[in-house]
Symmetry: C2
Subunit: 175 residues, 2 copies
């Protein structure tokens, strides 16, 4: 099981970036997203996507990060540009453990660096926690996260040009 | 040479996501970022990071996407969840060509799907153009983008816990 923890979400300022974090978590193979700030609107946004496109992403906001990390029965990965290169840490992460992948918004509390089992850098340059999460999950799962089947009411059919979308109206009307 | 084109940037709404797009372009190995909307503040934000952390990312805002794409002497890649899976398209992209990687903000004009040489999906689920760009560049460059040397005044030294930063004050004072 893979969960993502988003730290320090500021309801107004981080609305869109935290939504991206949640959608990346879902699309790249995570099972849960925890967000430290209570934000019902954000929960709703992510739930709507999951209802439409499928999958079983669990969403919890207003989570105490310290308790969550301390009780976490598995490895805790903190993604930070100050950490060790992903290339060198990835082979050390046991594949059998549950994983909690922590990403910050602006300033990450000092203690996170201590609480994490691994502080991992997706490059040591400033960029984006959204990008860091996506690349971490992509590499950790060896590209398999993106191949996950979601079985939603709305399904996108890959195509060379334009858009092909199949909508399962039957299932929608049964609900 | 790799350039990134960000379509449909809305100054207020997309301020942070477009900044993430720019920083990802820089950190993952692109040489240029084009943004369709004129936005001097955004240019300044990206320039500040480049001045501090190094590299030679070129930034242009207020760019006419149609002209840019039509004049582009190389391949044009449009990242979209409606496209063909990255796994099947990646081997077809010639490595010798310059690359223009196009990402949208909200709604992408229909013609982009026609103007692009390849419409590529980083998974066929909704997530984030920031994530799509990062994973595309990471896979296209086989992880080499993240290993690029930036030689900036501020350098982050990878470490297990906490933060190690080296600041080249001598060079800064000479400027």
């Amino acid at each position: 099981m893979i969960a993502v923890l988003r730290l320090g979400h500021r309801i107004d300022r981080d609305k869109r970036t935290t939504t991206h974090v949640g959608l990346v978590a879902r699309a790249f193979g995570a099972d849960k997203i925890f967000i430290t700030t209570k934000d019902e609107k954000l929960e709703e946004t992510l739930k709507k996507i999951t209802d439409k496109f499928g999958g079983s992403l669990k969403i919890a906001t207003g989570v105490n990060y310290r308790e969550l990390i301390k009780r976490w029965d598995g490895k805790v990965i903190h993604l930070t540009m100050y950490g060790e290169p992903i290339e060198s840490v990835l082979p050390k992460i046991p594949k059998s453990n549950d994983l909690l992948v922590v990403v910050g918004a602006e300033k990450v509390p000092r203690e996170i660096y201590e609480l994490a089992d691994y502080n991992i850098a997706i490059g040591n340059q400033p960029h984006s926690e959204i990008a860091a999460l996506a690349v971490f999950l992509d590499r950790y799962l060896g590209g398999k996260g993106l191949k996950k089947k979601f079985d939603g009411d709305v399904k996108i059919i890959p195509c060379k040009r334009g858009k092909r979308v199949v909508v399962n109206t039957k299932r929608q009307s049964l609900q």
